[in-house]
């Protein structure tokens, strides 16, 4: 018999978490408490070194030293980041807590600006671009368009077109879902249902592999490793 402390701790924690499936119990509560504490500490310590030290301090300190020598460097802008960070902390002083709205406003403004562009390009324009194909027609090499090789592909293209179109109809806010429009929206929901069903079915597999990884640990590393 071979005793490996790390494996035993791992097994204790693994079984504790899995015990939640039966019902809430003290074993799970211990694992949960450890998990919350350890992981919060992990993130704070990691980001302290990675963000505060290597992003703020390492960039700002030389720039401030240079400032004393009369040079103004681009990295001085990090001072702004530092000040914004401190403003965030001013929440702790109720009288001037409202100042923390400033960095918040910056975060929200920047998020809005950046994601506006990202989603416009990758989710919007590019997806429209990808949808544009000749739905049907002989193989042609006249332009840069992808040829339609088979009837099956042609039908597929038509279905993609219908699905994307009716799906968009479903999302319309300013028109009631009735009549022809409602019919299109209904077809749109069918496509969404297929999408959800397919993604769900596809995922089952992925989820199993995680469990397999854990069971593999329990069976091979813990039981066989200890007793075998």
């Amino acid at each position: 018999m071979h005793f490996d402390l790390g494996v035993w701790i791992g097994a204790f924690l693994t079984l504790g978490i899995i015990s939640f499936l039966y019902k809430d119990n003290p074993w799970y509560k211990i694992c949960e408490a450890i998990f919350v504490g350890i992981s919060a500490g992990y993130w704070i310590a990691s980001l302290f070194w990675q963000n505060l030290v290597s992003k703020l301090y390492d960039n700002l300190a030389p720039a401030i030293v240079a400032l004393f020598h009369g040079q103004i460097q681009y990295n001085l802008l990090y001072l702004v980041a530092g000040i914004l960070g401190i403003m965030m902390l001013l929440r702790l002083i109720p009288q001037i807590g409202w100042i923390s709205r400033w960095p918040l406003a910056l975060v929200v403004g920047a998020t809005a600006g950046l994601q506006f562009i990202n989603y416009l390009v990758s989710n919007g324009v590019k997806q429209i671009y990808n949808t544009i194909v000749p739905v049907f027609g002989p193989v042609s090499d006249a332009g840069g368009i992808p040829p339609v090789a088979t009837t099956g592909e042609g039908i597929g293209n038509v279905i993609i077109l219908i699905g994307t179109f009716t799906g968009l109809v479903y999302f319309f806010f300013s028109k009631e879902h009735k009549g022809l429009f409602g019919g299109a929206a209904k077809v749109g929901t069918w496509f969404l249902m297929i999408t959800f069903g397919a993604s769900f079915g596809y995922t089952v597999m992925s989820r199993m592999s995680l469990l397999i990884g854990r069971i593999d640990f329990l069976v091979n590393d813990w039981i066989r490793g200890t007793f075998g």
Partner: protein, 420 residues
Amino acid sequence: MELLRSRIIIGITLLSMVLMFGSALAQDADKRDVLDSTAVRVGTFKKPVNLPIPAQLDVVEDSEGDAGSSITVSWLPSPDDGAGKNNVIEYQILRSESQDGEYVIVGSASRGMTQFQDATTTDGVTYFYYVRTISKDGGANSQISAGIQSSPQWFNTKDLDTFIIGLIICAAVIYFIYHAQKGKKFFLRQIAGLEAVDEAIGRATEMGRSILFIPGINDMDDVQTVAGITILGRVAKTIAEYDTKINMPVSRSIVMTTARETIKQAYVAAGRPDAYSDDMVHYLTDEQFGYVAAVDGIMVREKPATCFYLGAFFAESLIMAETGNSIGAIQIAGTAMPAQLPFFVAACDYTLIGEELFAASAYLSGEPKQLGSLKGQDVGKIIAMIVILGLCGLYTVASISDSVSLLDFADKIKGLFSAS
């Protein structure tokens, strides 16, 4: 004030567009000429065993629409690339700072390629290039290009199409916000998940249990989290009016701060500032699964009557939604993470799908300005639908009739959507 601001933004955008067009045109005029016809041929001392016919330089120019430090070299492929002797392996791109100086390899491109971006240049330095066509037996050189410099640009002409499309959608949204503000009424269809919000809060009140609000696990730099928080603002107001308990564990500190601010103001707006407490929002851990472990614990111990999941979710979505289901809570979810939507649809009572999440706070607010923006979104949808249908039709006609000019025309319009 809003009115003024929207006018200002339209003004600014138009002005900047004019400026950018101007600078883009100026750059075009400035484009360097392509080839130096007097260039000498280099490196043909050894009699080739079976060398490929060298590629011809096509255009060598400063890379378009970038921040400098890059020159694009393009060439016409060797006739032996994929045809002829078919012995081309790859192309090497060589560079020197003087025409007859020492040339070093700056990169290579596999056969079939006709372009290379040398992203290692220094702005303002003149470079000369040639392309070497490599086969098993050695390389054959193209002529040498004229001197060329890289420089940064003020407008990314490659993104002009994106810019225009963005502008049109913005204009539509702002137009309808403006009109809604002036009192124009728009019809809006019902969204089941949002209709159910009041009832869900009411149920928690009746049962004397708390309401759990999960704003996703991303930070405020994700617009989904922002959407979740804006919905929280509306929901919290109702909660304050009903005098129900809200419990909001979060996994990000900035989200905690923002959520407190939001709930506090909702309580003020509901006329019950004294009922607010900072304890309504508490931080657990940034770790995804640590967070979900704790949330699960809260669920089975506190048994909230209603759970909201609104924001960015990953794998933890189903763990929470299934646990919530097992305690019999009414669950309203919403996310723009397509991978998690199926789980919410399966395990929750109501799910806001993608776009509906972003529209929810506007719906719940009932403010005309906000609702107007939704109408603007619909215009975006109409444009997308027209473009998709129209161009697919055009291509199909072109493809069947085999008309080159029609194809060119279709390609041109489609090119507008080829955002880089």
